[in-house]
């Protein structure tokens, strides 16, 4: 059986990579994808704990996270499209006003 | 040629799409430049000339009889209509009366041409909208009609069968019998195709309300033929300015008020049935008599008299080597080709070659309505609209 610590390490590594990407990337879509990466890292931790504790609740949390991620992706991408329409750019540095 | 559309500032996300000249459903080498917003056409420009062969210039260097072969190649789907238009124009110039039998056979053959041409239209129009089988059914039927043309003229497509003052040859024996068979089966074959399309919900959705042209617009844009009648304007040269004895035939001019693709589709289908009616009448009432006018200086003598009569031989020599001299003047003769009003404008300076011969090609004028039809609609509608005005690029570019 895979030790929980290994699962958590993988989870942490993915999360940190997500954070790093969030910081260094300039493209809005890529930044958004890095957020998804972080979400997945957390999901992995949930699944690991669910296995460790022999409880299904962790898996259910993952289920909810996936569903919320879907909603988030829909809204987020809609915002990105609206941003692109108004700014003709996807670079985060050029999108600095709160206005769409 | 080589038209481009500039992007409107502030609308950079719009896409400029060059549709054609190599595209499966632009019916030849039509090129459309479309400005697209998503899949919606915002602006469009058409680009023609990829098949430009300079017929109008060539006419000026050919004797009148030689010109007939050129007219075949303009609207290559209805060569006999073109032949007829040109011959009628020259006959008008010469003030030449054509014997009734020749007139009847001309009517018969041009109506068959109309059916054949409409069959090609129906097939390609259907395949544009995705119905593949109709295409092959239509070509099967058309092939039967082309065999008839081959019997009378020796050619399937580039027939050049009509001559100034009559016909080239007597139709062969057994021709009428074969024609009778085809005429018997054709209506049921058209029904078959209609079964596949007319009441088909997908077909109706794809064609109804698409590419609407009002009657006023149709007239203003010089639309003609089935496209004009699909907008509710009842104008048919055969009916309103009868030529070649059309006034002696009973037929209706089908019109539809809607002006959409579906209306044009129904009009053409109804026209095919009317054409069959005319063909039947022409078959049954085919008069006896000569097939060429009695005008020895214009019409070639037949082989028999050439062997017995010196005058015939001399006329033959003169017509072949020099041609004939029509009076100075100019005529404009229109006929109802399958695509609409086909006009020949011939200016004569008295020499054996036309000084100027202009062809009023129906597709050339009809194509202008395309922009009005497709702007604000989807790409798929563009294809349906091109099919519905039934353009032939050979005729547009001439």
């Amino acid at each position: 059986m895979v030790p929980l610590a290994h699962v958590l390490t993988l989870s942490a590594a993915l999360f940190v990579l997500g954070v790093a990407g969030f910081i260094i990337r300039r493209n809005v879509i890529t930044i958004f994808m890095c957020i998804e990466l972080m979400l997945n890292a957390v999901n992995l931790a949930f699944i690991g704990f669910a296995r460790h504790l022999g409880s299904l609740d962790g898996q259910l949390f993952v289920f909810f996270v996936i569903v919320v991620a879907a909603a988030e992706a829909a809204v987020g991408l809609a915002i990105i499209i609206a941003l692109f329409r108004n700014h003709e750019s996807l670079t985060i540095d050029e999108i600095d006003s709160m206005k769409l | 040629m080589a038209v481009t559309l500039e992007k409107v500032p502030g609308q950079e996300e719009r896409l400029i799409l060059s549709m054609g000249p190599q595209h499966p459903s632009t019916h030849g080498v039509l090129r459309l430049v479309l400005e697209l917003d998503g899949e919606t056409v915002v602006r469009s420009v058409y680009d023609i000339g990829y098949l430009h062969t300079g017929f109008e210039k060539s006419f000026e260097d050919k004797t009148y009889s030689q010109c007939i072969t050129l007219t075949d190649r303009m609207d290559y789907l209805s060569p006999l209509s073109n032949n007829l238009g040109f011959c009628l124009a020259v006959e008008k110039l010469l003030n030449l009366e054509v014997p009734p039998k020749a007139q009847w056979i001309r009517v018969l053959l041009t109506e068959l041409t109309r059916i054949a041409s409409h069959l090609v239209w129906l097939g390609t129009h259907a395949i544009d909208i995705g119905a593949m089988s109709v295409f092959l059914y239509c070509f099967r039927e058309r092939e039967e009609i082309l065999r008839l043309f081959e019997m009378v003229s020796g050619q399937r497509m580039m027939t050049s069968y009509f001559r100034i003052g009559g016909l080239a040859l007597e139709p062969p024996l057994g021709w009428l019998k074969r024609l009778g068979k085809i005429v018997e089966t054709l209506p049921s074959r058209i029904d078959e195709n209609e079964d596949l399309l007319t009441r088909n919900p997908i077909w109706m959705r794809r064609t109804q309300g698409v590419g609407v042209i009002s009657a006023e617009d149709a007239i203003a844009l010089s639309l003609s033929g089935p496209s004009l009648r699909g907008s509710g304007v009842s104008w048919d040269v055969r009916k309103n300015e009868p030529y070649s004895g059309y006034d002696k035939f009973q037929f209706n001019v089908p019109t539809r008020p809607e002006g959409d693709v579906y209306a044009r589709y129904l009009v053409r289908l109804a026209e095919m049935r009317e054409s069959i009616k005319i063909v039947k009448q022409a078959m049954e009432g085919l008069p006896e008599g000569p097939i060429r006018a009695n005008a020895p200086h214009v019409v070639m003598p037949d082989r028999e008299s050439m062997k017995t009569s010196i005058e015939a031989l001399i006329y033959h020599f003169k017509i072949v080597t020099e041609g004939f001299h029509p009076p100075v003047g100019e005529v404009y003769q229109t006929i109802e080709s399958p695509r609409g009003e086909l006009g020949f404008y011939i200016v004569s300076d008295g020499s054996p070659k036309p000084y100027r011969c202009h062809v009023r090609a129906p597709s050339f004028a009809n194509l202008q309505s395309l922009a009005k039809m497709i702007e604000g609609r989807l790409i798929a509608d563009v294809v349906a609209c091109i099919g519905s005005i039934d353009v032939v690029l050979g005729e547009i570019d001439r």
Binding site: - | L15, L17, H23, P24, S25, E39, A126, I127, D128, I129, G130, A131, M132, S133, L136, Y137, R140, L196, L197, N200, I202, W203, R205, R206, L378, I379, A380, D381, V382, V383
Partner: protein, 343 residues
């Protein structure tokens, strides 16, 4: 028998099964193209392929050779990596889905009971759905990476179309799942065996919705807009040539097979059918029934192609969202009520 030799035997059998099934599937898809050309030709009152072999039976081979030896053209500005990747994704996914499809009962071999299936997953149906849901990438990426306008349109159209119809596709199956109470494809067939009735009689609406959505998912007439050769030239594979094109081609037909298999299993009793004759026949008849049913579906596909025109993009979307989805939801509602009332 010790476990290690057991495992080795299991592995060996699985490898053999994988090879056999892959071979059968590849041949089947190749001959599906032949069948399509033949059937459509007869619908259109012509002969179809007739030159290579008797009745053109070797035509698929000739086609395959042609695809292999044709020049492979890559557009100048294409994104080469993805341009290469897209047909491979299509091909792999199309063949992956077949892994969980059972196409018969089981037979015994040297005392081992071997099922006619590569692997039986508890959630086999989910596996099929998961694999087919990834299929959209191949088309979208092919359209994007060609860096050409018609493929881009084809890719965009198909992405939107597949997302829209996948919903109805999945929801249509839920009715069956509610009745049978299992996600295992083998379990669903066994349920139908126990109750002596195919699911089609209990879920006619579900079947119709599923099959309509499946035709859309596999980009076939009348939903073949991503290809739509008379509008978009060739859609997403306009710029593809040679073997990469062949991979898309094979993938499309393999997807048709998969979809037909799932329809057979879920609604038409899978391999169930009259059994008779000696034992060996009783073992192989189910396989025959299964193949026969799948063949019927494939024939229906081809029949549609010979008959119907194509939808327009907006009509397709409207149909998916405004007709198919509500019907699927309603089907679930009614099925749920019936299941709840009867339990």
């Amino acid at each position: 028998m010790d476990t290690s030799s057991d495992t080795a035997f299991f592995l060996g059998v699985t490898v053999v099964k994988v090879v056999v099934i892959l071979w059968v599937l590849l041949t089947a898809t190749a001959y599906l193209t032949w069948l399509e050309r033949k059937v459509v030709a007869h619908i259109q009152s012509r002969w179809g392929p007739y030159r290579v072999g008797p009745h053109g039976l070797l035509q698929p081979l000739a086609d395959g050779l042609k695809f292999l030896f044709k020049e492979d053209i890559v557009p100048a500005d294409a994104d080469r990596v993805i341009y290469w990747l897209a047909p491979f994704i299509a091909f792999t996914l199309a063949f992956l889905a077949i892994a969980v499809i059972p196409f018969g009962g089981s037979f015994s071999f040297h005392g081992h009971v071997i099922p006619f299936q590569i692997t039986d997953l508890d959630v086999g149906l989910l596996f099929v759905l998961a694999v087919t849901s990834l299929g959209v990438y191949s088309i979208a990426l092919a359209g994007w990476s060609s860096n050409s306008k018609y493929p881009l349109f084809g890719g965009l159209r198909s992405s939107a179309q597949m997302i829209s119809y996948e919903l109805s596709l999945g929801l249509a199956l839920i009715g069956v799942l509610m009745i049978t109470g299992t996600l295992s494809l083998r379990g669903i067939v066994e349920y139908q065996q126990q109750h002596g009735m195919w699911n089609i009689f209990k879920q006619p609406v579900g079947f119709l919705v599923y099959f309509t959505a499946a035709i859309a998912e596999t980009n076939r007439v009348p939903f073949d807009l991503p290809e739509g050769e008379t509008e978009l030239v060739g859609g997403y594979h306009t710029e593809y040539s040679s073997f990469k094109f062949a991979m898309f081609f094979i993938a499309e037909y393999a997807n048709m097979v998969t979809v037909s298999c799932v329809a057979t299993l879920l609604f038409f009793g899978g391999w169930l059918g009259p059994l008779f004759g000696p034992p060996w026949l009783r073992t192989w008849l189910p396989v025959f029934w299964f193949c026969f049913k799948v063949f019927c579906f494939l024939f229906f596909y081809i029949w549609l192609r010979g008959t119907l025109p194509r939808f327009r993009y907006d009509q397709l979307m409207a149909f998916g969202w405004k007709v198919l989805l509500p019907v699927a939801l309603l089907n679930i509602l009614v099925t749920g009520a019936v299941v709840a009332a009867s339990s």
